[in-house]
Each structure stands twice: as structure tokens, then as C-alpha cells.
Amino acid sequence: MVVYGVYIVSKSGGLIFNYDHNVPKIEHERTFTYPLDIKLINENKKIVVSFGQRDGINVGHVLMSVNGNPVVGKELEDGTDVLEYLNKPQNFPVTLKFGRAKMTTNEKIFLASMFYPLFAIASQLSPEPRCSGIEVLEADTFRLYCFQTLTGVKFMIVAEPSQAGMDILTKRVYELYADYALKNPFYSLDMPIRCELFDTHLVNLLETVEKSGISNV
């Protein structure tokens, strides 16, 4: 039973709340000799594996550290360019750590606003009249549940594909939103939710669901 995260998107498509619940950390460290047996490229200010996946290091993974020194963007902390560093045979053997890139807050906001038109187009392309937008979206690694309220706020839950009862959970999160965010006099509508009570109740809710199933909430 795993819930990966909760997102709340306002009527206008802005991300007003995000909570990462249980995101697994994927990191692999390995010692390499010259020349590297994987192909690295510089993409979006990151060093990314573009070809040659092995030992758990997959295409799309980001270079996180070189010999234990963290990589910032495409440089080491002391300012050396990583790709140039890895092109010099005298720097080998070298220990590299790769991992799946964690989403930054900016990327999450970007994704939330990207979901908004997808939701609208899905209802426009419908072969049946009077159709809602996307309610469930499934990929091989996760399932996304989306519940839109009458006022247009979207509650989204990303969970394991086998996790049942998540549509009920979205409605429970809506209840918490109505109780602890909307009744908070310091909360203004369509702004990011920063209410401690909401946070704690949400974490409790997710934990109960994971421990004892959806039937107990």
C-alpha cells in the first residue's frame, strides 16, 4: 500500500498544495574506469545518462556526485566542468553516483499547469456527449486519480497501480481542505495552502490508509 503524493490544483491551474508522501529513492553508485561505458549528455543544466543502461543506472538518471563530491548543475562544487573532468584519463578510476532526478518545486508547478489543458482536451475529444475530464490516468509505475470539485479545484493523488479506493481518498482530502484550509481565516482563496492543521491531518489520513486500508477512514 503506497501513496506517492498528493497535489491540489486551483481553478486557474496553479499548484496550491503538494505533499510527497512516500517517494522511493533510486540511487546507484559505481566505480568506473576509462573510458566510461555509458554515454552522458548535458540536458536542462543537468548531466543525464542518454545511452547504455546497466547495474540499475537507467537512461534519464542524473549524475549526483563524483567521488563523493556533489554535482551542482553541470559542475562540481569547485567549479570544474564534469564532462571535461570525465574526458581526462588521469582522473580515473572514478566513483559516480546516479539517481532519478527529484522534481523541484518549479517543475511541480509546471506539471500542475500542464495537467490542466490535458484535462480539458480529454473532455473535448470525447466520443460521448457531456463528458468529464480525466478521472484516472494509469502508467506502468503509478496511477493518478483526479477529483474535480464543483468549484473547479482538482485533488490529485499519485499512488501505486494496485492501490484500491483512492477515489474515496481524494474526497476525504477534499473534506480536510474544506475543514482546515477554507475555514482558516488567514487562508485566501486560490493561494498556496500553508495551514499546519491541514498538513498534520493529511499526513495522519495517508498513514492510516497505508496501515489499515481505505475502509477505516
Binding site: G5, L118, E138
Partner: protein, 145 residues
């Protein structure tokens, strides 16, 4: 259970084939415009799924469901995209898409020297075989019956 319509896109986003069986709602735009909209949406969903996925995705996007219909998606490693809209209770649609690819597309388009790849499919035999496959599948059940 019913099958609404089907789109086949090439790896470049060209609409290779479109067919519809039970479609009540017309989107109000031309077929070409609709195909572009559909391809654009699928392209965005693909990158959305890749970013939001907590683990490394393999097949990526499989389907989405709305209150009235379900869109099933199959992409081959060569970039060919099969999209089929059914109602929400249909089962094993992915299997049908795979059959469609291996038993109809490969047999009657790839093995037909007169069919240009990456161009809309004109072949009559492809059309009839595809129609036959969809109509004999248990998912297809005409509403008028």
C-alpha cells in the same frame, strides 16, 4: 461494451488511419485538426507521465479514464501509436491493440509493398481486416442491438 473510435499515428505525428464505429459526439472541428489535438495531448501526457512517475517508467502511459469513456494507448518501440476509445467497462483492450498491430498493421501495411510507411493508409484490405478484427472482438457490441 462498445468501441468508439481508433487513431493510428506515425512516429512523426502524422495521422495514418482513423476509423469510428459508435461516436455520438462530434468535436466540432475537422478531422485533421482533431488528430493534431489528439496527438498533442498524447505527446504532453507522455512527458507528463515521465516526469511525475516516482519510479523509472518502462512502458509509460497506458490509459486514462473519464466519466464516459476510456482512452487506451499503445506505442511500439518504433514510435507507432495506436489509440482506441472504448467505454469504461471494456476489458483487455490493450491486448486488442497488440493484436491490431501484429495481425493487421504488420500483415497488411508493412508487408504490402504498395503501402508507403508514414503516409495515410489507403489500402482497402487493411480497412476491411481492421473492421473485421474490431467487430469480432468481445469489446465491440453495438448499442443498437
Amino acid at each position: 461494451m462498445t468501441v468508439h473510435n481508433l487513431y493510428i499515428f506515425s512516429r512523426n505525428g502524422v495521422l495514418l488511419y482513423y476509423a469510428e464505429w459508435n461516436r455520438l459526439n462530434k468535436s466540432g472541428i475537422t478531422k485533421e485538426e482533431e488528430a493534431k489535438l489528439m496527438y498533442g495531448m498524447l505527446f504532453s501526457i507522455k512527458s507528463f507521465v515521465n516526469k511525475i512517475s516516482p519510479l523509472d517508467p518502462k512502458e509509460g502511459f497506458l490509459y486514462y479514464k473519464t466519466s464516459k469513456y476510456t482512452l487506451h494507448y499503445l506505442e511500439t518501440p518504433s514510435g507507432l501509436k495506436f489509440v482506441i476509445n472504448t467505454d469504461n467497462i471494456s476489458q483487455n483492450v490493450r491486448q486488442l491493440l497488440q493484436q491490431l498491430y501484429s495481425q493487421v498493421y504488420v500483415e497488411y501495411v508493412v508487408k504490402n509493398p504498395f503501402c508507403q510507411l508514414n503516409e495515410p493508409i489507403q489500402s482497402e484490405v487493411f480497412k476491411s481486416k481492421l473492421d473485421e478484427l474490431i467487430k469480432k472482438s468481445p469489446i465491440f457490441l453495438n448499442r443498437s442491438l
